[in-house]
Symmetry: C2
Subunit: 199 residues, 2 copies
């Protein structure tokens, strides 16, 4: 009997995941278009035949990398649903969740944020849909904060973009085992965003 839907064994799944992770690292170094199939083969210590047996195509590999991150992001958004605290509390939680993903998957996130324009067709629309879920979650929380009188009358869209910019940008410098932990930085970001930097 088939023990999964793909018709492939568990080994296949595990090896595929391994290839995705390794390739994410290579893409993060040289970029998607800048990295050739030959380079991926070498990094994964595989021939082209074997590689394509697992990945299907170069773009499918890119999709797998981005999906991995977006799955986590969407799960994070769900965990910070309405009713799990005040708007500012939820904003703090979401920031922590997001930076945690960023530290756990630095290469995958790098690829996601840098190369998503290379996605085509429905892969692209699917990605944009999920990104919109995340971004509008932030905006909605801020809007709720303003409505509740917890935040002053900021422009929710601009404030959300500021928040997203602060956090997204961390993919360039926040590293596991670095000087600051994801939790540290998330707290400092939240303090800055909510309280400001004024003495």
């Amino acid at each position: 009997m088939a023990d999964n839907l793909t018709g492939r064994g568990a080994n296949w799944e595990a090896r595929r995941r391994q290839i995705i992770d390794t390739s994410a690292h290579v893409f993060a170094q040289g970029g998607y278009h800048g990295t050739g199939i030959a380079e991926l083969c070498e990094a994964n210590d595989l021939g082209k035949g074997a590689l394509y047996h697992y990945i299907g195509s170069k773009e499918a590999l890119l999709v797998a990398i981005t999906d991995l991150v977006m799955d986590e992001v969407i799960a994070g958004v769900d965990r910070v649903a309405p009713g799990t605290g005040t708007p500012t509390e939820r904003l703090r939680m979401l920031g922590t969740e997001y930076l945690d993903i960023l530290v756990r998957y630095p290469d995958h996130v790098w690829v996601l944020l840098h190369e998503f324009p290379a996605l085509t067709g429905e892969r692209a629309t699917e990605f944009h849909k999920r990104r919109h879920i995340f971004e509008s979650a932030v905006e909605t929380i801020i809007r709720d904060g303003v409505k509740a009188g917890e935040l002053r009358k900021v422009e929710p869209r601009v404030a959300a973009l500021a928040w997203l910019g602060m956090h997204n940008h961390a993919y360039l410098w926040l590293r596991p085992g670095g000087k600051w932990s994801a939790r540290d930085v998330a707290t400092q970001f939240a303090d800055l965003f909510i309280e400001g930097a004024t003495a």
Copy 2:
């Protein structure tokens, strides 16, 4: 007699600049590695011979695009030198300067922020040197603000990275003729960063 140092006429200079701008737009659409020379030729309505007469090489074109932006950024930093106001005033000024550049050169900035890892050798080191000038200018202003008691005891490096993230990220959505002007957004960003979002 030679009327300039390059030995090329003024027409050459003007046409070159035009090619740089057009190519920046193409790169911003398809990425540096994702765009072929043939595509650049078509966009500029030029043969390969003519194109190379002006640009020298593909990477030289990338350098020209990034230099154009960095020249402006460094000039902006110089204009906000110490003694031109309090730290918070200078931070507001720098934000306005930066977002203004971002709106005036949306394509060039896109290329800069996305493709600078493609720079090699001393072109790369030169770029990093100039980027460091900008980033440490932000950090120094914040440090001065804390020292002067104008800002609370934030971690200057993290706060600077938050500030840079907010502003850098705007290259993805801030557009000339869009809903918000660079000045509007700069003010809102500065208010958020300095005063926070709390009511």
